[in-house]
């Protein structure tokens, strides 16, 4: 700010903003953040080093809860499953979202309607979406089953949610339906920021569609793709509703995620200390992962 602007500003009596007013304006939000975020976070850390039953008196036990994590087979299994889910949903969502974004990139008749159709599932709550597909897998696909049975391809109806492989697939399909339009929108914003003359140059150089996608579109879309990747992975590592509603972790604990383990420890086994310890570990993992992703992004720039 130039000196002239400064003196001009000082000259106006009312335009001097008192720091105290600013602080008071921000104070209510800050109090909510401290009371409902910082204090519980500190309590979570304390719970993680205590024997803290849902009902009854807590007592300090040091690192006991953390040591127990190593001996808890379900935690290891859930970690592996959550990582697998994150990898699969990342690839599937990015591919479908990019395909949709390419389809609706150019303005033409009806393109707004198409975008709305792809995006509308994102307006449905995750729990409602899961319930919608629960019914679909449970009873709605019986015409498909009947047709396959009639053709002799299967000998009895497919129990979509009752077998580990198809249960996992069922969740991936539901999540793709619910989120593809959301990520399509982010990628669409990225696509539209690529100037037309870049494509014109590629065309003049004789690049075909595939070459243009690989050597022009994808590199220029990198920031949007990176953003989608961070959001998808973070969301997948904290997956809960989709599995809780569709499979409840089953069959045979084959679809138990980390968050399902935490909720079970707390409210099925009534062991808040153990649940807090696992969630502190998950928190630590997420922080490390985000820092790594941010560093990788920064190095690229």
């Amino acid at each position: 700010m130039s000196a002239i602007a400064l003196t001009r500003r000082r000259g106006r009596r009312h335009s001097i903003r008192r720091p105290r007013t600013g602080f008071l304006l921000v104070l209510p939000a800050a109090l909510v953040a401290v009371g409902l975020f910082v204090v519980p976070l500190v309590l979570a850390a304390r719970m993680s080093v205590s024997d803290w039953p849902l009902l009854g008196e807590p007592s300090f036990t040091g690192l006991e809860n953390y040591r127990a994590i190593a001996g808890n087979d379900l935690v290891g299994q859930a970690l592996g499953f959550t990582a697998k889910y994150a990898a699969v949903i990342l690839v599937v969502l990015l591919a479908v979202a990019l395909g949709l974004a390419m389809l609706v990139r150019r303005p033409r008749r009806g393109v707004g309607l198409l975008r709305t159709a792809f995006f509308l599932p994102a307006a449905v709550g995750l729990t409602s979406a899961a319930l919608l597909f629960y019914e679909l897998y449970f009873a709605g696909l019986s015409p498909v089953d009947d047709a396959l049975t009639g053709l002799g391809l299967i000998d009895r109806p497919i129990d979509w949610l009752g077998q580990p492989g198809t249960a996992f697939l069922s969740v991936v399909i539901m999540m793709t339906w619910r989120f593809a339009g959301f990520y399509m929108l982010i990628l669409l914003a990225g696509l539209q920021s690529i100037p037309d003359d870049v494509y014109e140059a590629a065309r003049l150089d004789g690049a075909n569609r595939w070459q243009t996608l690989r050597h022009v579109t994808l590199p220029l879309l990198r920031p949007s793709l990176a953003l989608c990747t961070i959001l998808i992975i973070t969301g997948a590592l904290l997956a809960f509703e989709q599995f809780y509603v569709l499979t409840n972790g089953g069959p045979d604990n084959s679809t138990v995620t980390l968050v399902i383990v935490i909720v079970r420890e707390a409210f099925s086994f009534l062991d808040l200390g153990s649940a807090a310890a696992i969630s502190m570990v998950v928190l630590g993992g997420l922080i490390v992962l985000n820092v790594v992703q941010l560093l990788a992004l920064r190095r690229e720039r």
Partner: protein, 283 residues
């Protein structure tokens, strides 16, 4: 230079255009089929919820009205949580956004980073101690407790959006109003608040969607069936907690729960999309 030399002559150009047209038709048909596929689950549930083997029926909605503590109870509970969350988010974020955008004071950056850090926390990490803390405050198993936690989860997005919005309003506008004799408060209200109405709508809309659809927070904080919000009640219905699972009533329930969001989205699509992009770009 090479580009100039290899520039297609007129005839291949026509062939290319024809190929483009064909590709355009193919991708148009593909896109339309995909759109039908995306619309299928919702449209199917809407149709099935009002039909019964052939004729129209309201049976499914009738059964839904009576399940558990009754649909009106669950709708009311969800509405209470949603209204408090929307009102609370706006009441906190509008002044805070203005404070962050227009003032400098000690600790400003620290407080802002603290609010943004809420985004990083896995919800169960904080919900388990909140269950204990709200118990100490006498807010365990209450809708107000759930709404307070929802306001906290929405805080980073709400404050961030309002800060950006107020920063985009030229300060000179307010100064002009003050020179005309307005007090600082009235200048803020008259000039700036009027200019940020679109962002206020976006923040309110997102608080609405989050509160109306939230599952984990009320699942952990509420344990009395008559206080359940709609998503919790529907999952209980699915799990057979109220007797045999009635898929027809479940369809109807999903439609009732999705309808307000779908309607609001279609009405305020522009605000919703803008908010999503702003929310996404903060990452």
């Amino acid at each position: 230079m090479t580009a100039l030399l290899t520039r297609p002559t007129a005839a291949p150009g026509a062939a290319r255009r024809a190929r483009h047209r064909r590709a355009g038709v193919v991708s148009g048909v593909l896109a339309a089929l995909l759109a039908l596929l995306f619309a299928f689950p919702l449209v199917r549930a809407a149709i099935l919820s009002v039909t019964d083997g052939g004729g129209l029926t309201t049976d499914n909605y009738g059964k839904l009205a009576d399940f558990g503590a009754g649909l009106p109870t669950y709708l009311w509970n969800s509405a209470v949580v949603t209204v408090i969350t929307v009102a609370g988010s706006l009441a906190l974020a509008i002044p805070a956004g203005y404070g962050f955008a227009r003032y400098t004071f000690r600790g400003k950056n620290l407080i802002f980073v603290l609010i943004l850090a809420i985004l990083m926390i896995p919800h169960p990490t904080i919900l388990i101690p909140l269950y204990v803390l709200l118990g100490d405050l006498g807010l365990q198993n209450t809708l107000i407790g759930v709404a307070l936690v929802m306001i906290m989860f929405q805080l980073p997005f709400s404050v961030f959006m309002m800060r950006i919005a107020f920063s985009a309003v030229p300060e000179e506008l307010e100064e002009a109003a003050m020179l005309d004799g307005c007090s600082e408060t009235r200048a803020m209200l008259r000039v700036s608040l009027a200019a940020v109405v679109p962002s206020v709508v976006t923040v309110g809309l997102f608080a609405f969607f989050a509160a109306w659809n939230e599952f984990l927070t009320p699942l952990i904080l509420l344990n009395d069936g008559s206080r359940f919000t709609l998503p919790i009640a529907l999952v209980s219905l699915r799990s057979g907690d109220f007797g045999a699972v009635d898929l027809g009533a479940l369809q109807a329930g999903v439609i009732v729960s999705a309808l307000p969001c779908v309607v609001l989205f279609l009405l305020l699509q522009r605000h919703y999309v803008r908010g999503l992009l702003a929310g996404a770009l903060r990452g």
